[in-house]
């Protein structure tokens, strides 16, 4: 299903009709990739936190393993989101008269970029915290606590800050990411929703494979 959805995304996303907006032009196709990356990242982080909570309730190591690996895949999608976003911004936001790298610091001040950076830093810190503890049970418990704590405090960074700071990024009023109902046309929506689903499922799939591998490694380590 993932493969089908993603194949559809690529085909329809690259070939299908799109509205031609000033400045954006054909780069609007990046919507199917860039926005989906962030959706997938947030969904994966949320799955990670849910597993952390379940770990704290049950203390079964399999939930801890899942929480860690989902966070890892989330970071990967976040980095990909930055990559696709940078390509997009270089065609739309950057001033063509000055070199691309010089406009970086102006672009990087955008509150959505800051929010995303905070999310990635939090999960990088989560990884550092995990690796700094040797005792397995303690590591699982402490990092689960940090995961929940940081995730809850992440919300102001992502949902409140973008609303009070000025920004170039679309979606200034209301939803910080993208107003799906008004910003994009109906034709784009039938590609966009399957694309979100496809990328998220790809992330889940990658993580499931990693979890199985890690389970086998742990079993071998124990025996």
């Amino acid at each position: 299903m993932t493969v089908c959805l993603l194949a559809y995304t690529f085909l329809a996303g690259l070939l299908g009709p799109v509205p031609r907006l000033p400045l954006l032009q054909e780069t609007i196709r990046n919507l199917y990739f860039h926005v989906c990356m962030w959706f997938a990242m947030m969904i994966l982080f949320t799955i990670s936190v849910v597993h952390s909570i379940r770990y704290l309730r049950t203390l079964q190591p399999k939930f801890d393993r899942a929480a860690r690996l989902y966070a890892g895949t989330g970071i990967l999608f976040g980095l990909l989101g930055y990559g696709t976003g940078a390509i997009w911004a270089s065609f739309t936001w950057a001033d063509p008269n000055i070199p691309l790298l010089d406009s970086f610091s102006t672009i990087a001040r955008d509150p959505k970029l800051i929010g995303a950076a905070v999310a990635l830093l939090v999960y990088a810190a989560y990884m550092v915290l995990r690796d700094s503890i040797n005792d397995i049970d303690k590591r699982a418990r402490i990092s689960a606590v940090y995961n929940v704590f940081a995730f809850v405090l992440l919300f102001p960074a992502i949902w409140i800050l973008p609303r009070i700071l000025p920004s170039l990024h679309p979606g200034n009023e209301g939803n910080p990411a993208l107003d799906v109902k008004n910003d994009i046309s109906a034709g784009m929506r039938i590609v966009f929703y399957p694309a979100v689903l496809g990328w998220t499922l790809l992330g889940v799939w990658i993580t499931q494979l990693k979890i199985r591998l890690q389970t086998l490694v742990d079993k071998k380590f124990e025996s």
Binding site: L121, A150, V152, L153, L161, I164
Partner: protein, 215 residues
Amino acid sequence: MSKIYSLIKKDFLLELRQQYSFYGLLLYGAATLFLLFMAIELPEANIWNGLFWITQLFICINAVAKAFLQESRGRMLYYYTLNHPTSFILAKLLYNGVLMMAMSAISLLFFFLLMGNPVDKMGAFIGMVFLGGFSLSLVFGFLAAIAARAQQNAAVMAILGFPVIIPQVVLLMRLSSTAFSPLLNIPIPTVLLLLALDALVILLAVILFPFLWKD
């Protein structure tokens, strides 16, 4: 309630008997400020604001870090047998909040002495400084508990804390920047937002701390 009170009293007595740590903190703040004083003379209002909150952030890390790091393993076990985790964490957070508010007030005084006084609405700004010091100390208080359980030092606390604290610091800086200009009004929603965040942190700490402290 009485347990919280006696725990706070214990921390306060400890502070009185080991005064070196308080003076150390004071010296830390003063030395940082003197360094700034040497580096920049009479900064503009927005730079003043930025420097002030960054200084608060670093003082806060040092002030709060020792709250949990000073407790030895054996003593933690002793508390564990005596107290409920909720009252323990609440006592710690409250005590650190008050300590940090005192530190904020002292460093504000130093700032006025050395870096000039660009503040227009004095009363509001002092209120914001207290609110800010309290908010910072709450977040770092809980992170200090995590770092102490992981047997790590204050550096790990900074790594864990900086990404989490960014939204609050940005809110605080924007809030306090209104106190510098006679034209701008104090945005009440931002104040309420900060208070809501404080309540959220306390709630999270109360929910999550019991998991941290079992061994």
